[in-house]
């Protein structure tokens, strides 16, 4: 039995956000991996691009940032240099510049520091699950998956609890800027020129910036240095400090990326439990917790692709990628590559080894928050499994309208609590 069988005709339009409303077009990815692993797409929304779909190719390219640069944008959409400078974060830089920012916050997100949050996370899960499970039938994305990362983001950033729902709404508007359920400014459906200098080309970027400035002023006045925001404001070893724009963009990145990726990992894990009923029993009685979080995160693949730009001509599989060409690494495809993953459409909580690429492993931009994500996923599913005797789908689930963020935005479930 598989959890979910892709239904696309094998020739899906990867530029269309609508393609992804039933999940990623895995028949198309399978065809590209087999027949056309370096695939060119012409695009009427901008310059065309190359799609890399095999796990082995993405892994090999990802470790070469000097050849495939992040410093000209990481999404399919083109940016002018001016827009790039205004909107960039350390995600859109290359080594060594990337490291100047990363080393300021790396410790705060390191495995040993993050491990200290385990008890906090367990307590948050207690509260979240108490509220959700007593309903019996509910939307698991809204009532469970969305809650935990939002609460943890507040702790990590040192934000007042009452601000969190507003922040998450704005974070959603940023990153889900192609889904009308999350923003009034749907990126590909209206002229968003007015906001092109704002993070994610979104008016929410301006609102978040204004929030961050007020927040830091309040914290400074109170002498409060909790949370990672203060770390990013510290001077680098060469004495340089980040600009206001860079601070704004970093804040927006944490609010957006720190939120929905873990949310959609949790949602995908719950979806898998609904369709592979044996998972609950394994979670309740088997020793799977060293491997289960990564398998759930492989299954979810919340970041569908990231883009790079070639800095030189490169020959690959009989094609020539020219200097300046956009190159997309489709993580979503790599994570279903059957040359790497046995039975890739099945969730196997004991999968070992599990060389999934959901965190962009193998390259300099490997997810800063990966230890937090793994810990949140592990504790949430440990606590959920303790509290229920069954879980099943209570209607069809709905995916986000986005070719960039892969997520189940509505997940109706029914549970029987213990």
């Amino acid at each position: 039995m598989t959890v979910w069988t892709p239904t696309d005709d094998g020739f899906a339009d990867l530029t269309s956000h609508d393609t992804f409303v039933n999940g990623a077009p895995h028949n198309t990815f399978a065809r590209l991996r087999r027949d056309d692993p370096v695939h060119w797409t012409d695009w009427d929304g901008g310059e065309g691009f190359w799609s890399i779909t095999r796990h082995a190719d993405i892994s090999e390219m990802n470790r070469q940032p000097q050849v495939f640069s992040s410093a000209r944008g990481i999404r399919m959409e083109d940016q002018t240099y001016e827009e790039y400078l205004a909107r960039r974060t350390f995600q859109e830089t290359d080594p060594p510049e990337h490291m100047m920012t990363r080393i300021k916050v790396a410790k705060a997100f390191s495995k040993p520091v993050i491990a200290e949050f385990e008890n906090d996370i367990r307590k948050l899960c207690d509260d979240i699950l108490d509220v959700a499970l007593q309903k019996g039938a509910f939307d698991a994305t809204k009532d469970i998956a969305r809650q935990l990362p939002m609460q943890m983001l507040g702790r990590i950033l040192g934000l007042p609890e009452e601000d969190l729902p507003w922040l998450v709404e704005k974070g959603d508007a940023l990153i889900a800027n192609t889904d009308p359920d999350f923003t009034d400014h749907v990126l590909d459906k209206m002229t968003t020129d007015e906001f092109r200098m704002m993070p994610f080309n979104s008016p929410a970027g301006a609102e978040l910036y204004s929030y961050a400035k007020d927040l830091m002023a309040r914290k400074d006045a109170a002498g409060d240095t909790s949370g990672v925001l203060h770390l990013i404001l510290q001077p680098a070893k060469d004495g340089s400090v980040i600009t206001e724009e860079e601070f704004r963009n970093f804040f927006c990145l944490l609010v957006a990326a720190g939120n929905d990726t873990t949310r959609y990992s949790i949602a995908a894990g719950i979806q898998a439990m609904c369709h592979q009923p044996e998972l609950l029993g394994q979670m309740q009685s088997e020793d799977i917790w060293d491997t289960a979080p990564d398998e759930i995160i492989r299954w979810a693949t919340p970041a569908i692709y990231f883009r790079r730009t070639a800095t030189q001509d490169v020959e690959m599989h009989g094609k020539t990628i020219r200097e300046g060409d956009k190159v997309l690494y489709w993580w979503s495809s790599a994570n279903r590559d059957d040359t790497v993953f046995d039975d890739p459409f099945r969730v196997n909580l004991k999968r070992t080894p599990n060389k999934h690429l959901s965190f962009g492993q193998g390259g300099p931009h490997v997810c800063l928050g990966m230890w937090l994500a793994r810990l949140e996923v592990r504790v949430l599913f440990q606590e959920l499994a303790k509290r229920i005797t069954s879980i099943e789908a209570n209607g069809p689930h709905k995916f986000l309208r986005s070719n960039f963020v892969g997520g189940i935005k509505e997940l109706p479930v029914k549970v029987v609590a213990k």
Partner: protein, 104 residues
């Protein structure tokens, strides 16, 4: 060159490594436990942290500024002989190198 990894369980793994290959790549290729290399040798994680056998510290050299900062991120306690193995590259000078794999 020949390299030996001393494992936390008392075991050892030895391998011949070609010049130019870094010790993270070599460890991964030889299934050395606890050396992962999540960032592909780009100094963005510390999952290839090892201790250099004290006899070899003179030859492996010292961590640069970025490596030094990233060593603070490692899971196992940092020691004077801590290095990120992706920053040590195989060469004839290091023939016989001994690396100690931390317990994590």
């Amino acid at each position: 060159m020949k390299v030996t990894w001393k494992l936390p369980d008392g075991g050892e793994i030895a391998a011949d490594v070609k010049d130019g290959i870094n010790m993270m790549e070599a460890a991964v290729a030889n299934n050395v436990p606890n050396v992962i290399g999540e960032c592909g040798g780009n100094l963005s994680c510390a999952t290839c942290h090892v201790y250099v056998d004290p006899d070899w510290m003179g030859k492996t050299g010292a961590a640069d500024e970025f490596e030094d900062a990233m060593l603070d991120v490692a899971e196992a306690p940092r020691q004077d002989n801590s290095r990120l193995s992706c920053q040590i590259t195989a060469s004839a000078d290091l023939d016989g190198l001994v690396l100690i794999v931390p317990e994590v």
